[in-house]
């Protein structure tokens, strides 16, 4: 069958292959053990739940029915409070991309297996039967709150696998089959029926479908030693009793109860607009994000929902309300869909992605202040879409890609090939742009991407325009595949070089603009003293001052002796023979099809006072006199 590869040969080849493989790193065992020590103990059994119920009864100081003020959000199934939640919009009215229908729906048992088999906060849809809580006496809730921490779990509902376990909650009787206790802390759950112990049983079992996730980022901030990572945090109630539920906006207690004051006694002005006004900004982040739920919060409510902000957050500015929108990625190829949470401080131009380490600027609602660059190259793409562009339509179109980027920092790289500006080699192979913030690196390792990611190849002309930290940061990267210099890559590697993403500049995602001033000043002067200036070179190359903003990427002098490091094809050619200094001008232009591309012009250094200088187009074919210096 294996044409000469009989069992013995195959076995020998497998053995040789295994022998040539590297041994596990000496510290792998230690790293694994270190990680295990951070893991929670294997989950508690249902018997332990029963014990806890008894213990809680002994320690009770306040009955569950009294838990109202300041905690209603976390125990929404109590029947004491009338619904004050506004339903804004619906899955249908917001179009097909706003529903989580593409999420895998799974049984409770499958969800538990997923929870225990992975540490990813993958967003899933869970289908099960609703089982009520039990009105046992509960201690008063204490701050800090954490949506992953189930306060007085005996009083909270379950979603169970078996219909036999569903219905009204039973005292000291946990479900006999698989079940999860979800946290409804961040969604409006008023539409759920109350199935508390002692209430009349429903006419029929209530089947519900909810979208949510385990391994929530807030679990690490849990104050209890409980397994908060195992809490299923509900991001949306999808259906109740087979009836589809709309995307809802919920309000925290301070706003919902229209008390008008926070705990500090300040008035809370109402938000300046409806929460769904931010949906478009969320969707503009790419990933085919589908809105799951919205929540409008006071500062206190924000801290309850995001305990990482308990220590303060300067990004909130003077806002007294913050809208939080939870969305899930539905883009094909993104891998396990993750939930995203975006925060919109009221009246603020900036909005933020909430991460385990705190909020990070995700964009600027006043993006119309920077229309030029977006008009030229389009809105920022996700890395996943960018990879699709590379794999399905490889060309040199200039792309703006938003994501998380980081570099390895100072690093001694071996086997570097100098004079290969677009070849992927260390440190580019450790420089990443990823759709998701990477998990923290362990030990001395570099962070590794989690989800779609590409290496960023930063050529010499972009080094000073593409500063990256070792700490992953949200950025927008301007760059392209299929760089013309790929043809100069070593034999056999040209195709690989074509597929490398070549960085032209790295921008602040809240300020999508090319700064002409930066473009003409960022590069250090060469060792020889040029006669011209950067602005003169830009002018000479056809970019007068009025045309430089959002077009000029860089204009800088290069000693001809060093030209090969930037332009391998031009090194030692007759075109530059006898010259001392030239200027390279990189700028955005269009190709014949109207796609944004980067052009490079070479200007021979000359005294600006002595008339026009020579200008050349630098293309894959080499240098040719620029027909027009005014593109």
């Amino acid at each position: 069958m294996t044409s000469g590869w009989e069992d013995q040969r195959l076995q020998t080849a497998f053995a040789a292959r295994a022998a040539s493989a590297t041994r596990p790193a000496a510290n792998l065992t230690d790293l694994t053990i270190e990680r295990l020590r951070r893991e929670p103990r294997p989950r508690a059994t249902v018997i332990q739940h029963g014990l806890f119920a008894g213990l809680a009864a002994v320690l009770a100081v306040v009955v569950i029915a009294a838990i109202g003020i300041g905690f209603r959000d976390r125990v929404p199934l109590t029947s004491m409070s009338p619904s004050a939640t506004a339903m804004i919009g619906s899955a249908a009215s917001l179009g097909p991309s706003t529903g989580p229908a593409s999420l895998p729906a799974m049984s409770i048992e499958a969800a538990i297996a997923m929870r225990d088999g992975s540490s990813e906060p993958g967003e899933i849809r869970v289908v099960g039967w609703l089982r009520g809580g039990v009105p046992v006496p509960c201690p008063a809730p204490m701050r800090p709150f954490n949506p992953t921490q189930l306060w007085c779990p005996q009083a909270l509902p379950w979603i169970v696998e078996s219909v036999a376990d569903s219905g009204v909650g039973r005292l000291n009787e946990p479900p006999s089959g698989p079940g999860i206790q979800p946290s409804f802390a961040l969604v409006d759950a008023d539409a759920l029926p109350s199935l508390m112990f002692g209430s009349a049983p429903p006419a029929a079992p209530v089947e519900i479908t909810v979208a949510g996730h385990f391994h929530d980022r807030r679990a690490t901030l849990c104050s209890s030693s409980g397994a908060c990572w195992a809490t299923f945090v509900v991001d949306r109630i999808d259906s109740i009793g087979g009836i589809a539920q709309p995307v809802t906006t919920s309000y925290d207690l301070a706003i919902q109860a229209e008390k008008g004051t926070t705990s500090s006694g300040l008035e809370i002005p109402p938000p300046t607009g409806a929460a769904e006004q931010f949906d478009a900004a969320v969707m503009s982040q790419g990933h085919r994000l589908a809105v799951l739920s919205r929540r409008v919060m006071s500062i206190d409510g924000l801290i309850d929902a995001e305990p990482a902000l308990a220590g303060g957050w300067t990004g909130i500015g003077t806002a007294t309300t913050v809208t939080s929108i939870t969305a899930v990625e539905t883009e094909e190829g993104s891998g396990t869909p993750h939930p995203f949470t975006f925060l919109f401080p009221d009246r603020g131009p900036l909005f933020y992605e909430m991460t385990a380490d705190g909020p990070v600027v995700a964009g600027n609602l006043a993006v119309q202040a920077f229309p030029d660059l977006v008009a030229r190259v389009g809105r920022p793409l996700t890395v996943n879409v960018t990879i699709g562009h590379r794999d399905q339509a490889l060309d040199a179109t200039e792309l703006l890609v938003a994501g998380w980027a980081w570099a390895p920092g100072p690093l001694f790289c071996t086997l570097i090939r100098p004079g290969e500006p677009v070849l992927d080699q260390c440190p580019s192979t450790l420089t990443w742009l990823a759709d998701r913030k990477p998990p923290p690196a362990t030990g001395s390792e570099f962070p590794r991407p989690d989800g779609p990611a590409i290496n960023l190849v930063i050529p010499p002309e972009s080094v000073n325009l593409a500063r990256l930290d070792t700490k992953p940061a949200r950025v927008a990267v301007l760059g392209h595949f299929d760089d013309r210099r790929a043809a100069a890559c070593p034999s056999g590697l040209a195709e690989r070089c074509r597929r490398n993403f070549i960085v032209d500049e790295i921008l602040d995602p809240a300020r999508l603009a090319l700064e002409a001033t930066l473009a003409t000043t960022v590069h250090p002067a060469p060792s020889n003293t040029p006669k011209g200036t950067a602005t003169w070179a830009a002018d000479t190359a056809g970019l007068p001052e009025a045309d430089r903003t959002n077009r000029l990427i860089s204009a800088f002098p290069v000693a001809v002796a060093a030209l090969g490091a930037l332009e391998p094809d031009l090194a030692g050619t007759s075109s530059t023979a006898g010259l001392d200094t030239v200027w390279l001008v990189h700028f955005l232009d269009q190709d014949v099809a109207g796609n944004a591309i980067v052009r490079t012009r070479l200007v021979i250094d000359a005294d600006p006072a002595k008339g026009p200088a020579q200008v050349f187009d630098v293309t894959a074919d080499g240098m040719s006199p620029a027909l027009s210096a005014a593109p």
Partner: protein, 192 residues
């Protein structure tokens, strides 16, 4: 075949049953002893399936974390070794799936050298041919081939490790062998 039949299901010195029981009850010290005893074997398996050092390292680590989480629910502790291999195979599967979804291409400097050598016409040995062919197979096929041809698991043990009927293990192994043959032929054609 006879040699394979002589092999024990274990992948190292036997682990004391009491150690497994303690670990099942949440004794992390006991589980650490298991990690130390089985890291090399688990890494060898993940490395053989994934063919990539970084991925193999991640998968081995994920496998032990998954074991720690799932150990209390291990119904048959006497089959711990088979279960351990199953978890390692699953961790490899998860790793490669996430990698392929990401379509991440991390190119170590050694690859540059390897590509250069290949371009220079250096004849590949059987291990290199196998390596290239395996890389094109789905992870499940790689796993069954590795378990059978490297770890020496007979069909009955393959069935136990992969939790499939023995007949299914046989047909999957057959399909994997055929896919491997096709991949080797394909690679040979590419080199011509």
């Amino acid at each position: 075949m006879a040699e394979r039949a002589r092999r024990d299901t274990r992948i190292g010195p036997a682990i004391d049953r009491s150690l497994i029981d303690r670990a099942r009850n949440g004794d992390l010290d006991a589980f650490e002893s298991i990690v130390r005893a089985r890291m090399d074997a688990v890494y060898r398996l993940t490395s053989a399936i994934l063919g990539n050092e970084a991925d193999a390292r991640d998968a081995a680590q994920e496998a032990f974390v998954a074991m720690w989480r799932q150990l209390p629910r291990l119904r048959e502790p006497e089959r711990f070794e088979a279960w351990l291999q199953r978890v390692a195979v699953n961790a490899s599967r998860m790793t490669i799936r996430s990698r392929s979804r990401r379509r991440v291409r991390e190119i170590p400097s050694s690859t540059v050298v390897e590509l250069a050598e290949r371009a220079a016409g250096a004849p590949p040995d059987d291990a290199a041919i196998l390596d290239a062919a395996l890389a094109s197979l789905p992870v499940d096929q790689r796993a069954i081939l590795v378990l059978h041809h490297l770890e020496g698991r007979p069909l009955a043990e393959l069935a136990m490790i992969l939790e499939i009927p023995e007949g299914t293990a046989k047909s999957r192994l057959f399909a994997a062998r055929r896919a491997l043959a096709d991949a080797i032929e394909q690679d040979r054609g590419d080199r011509r």
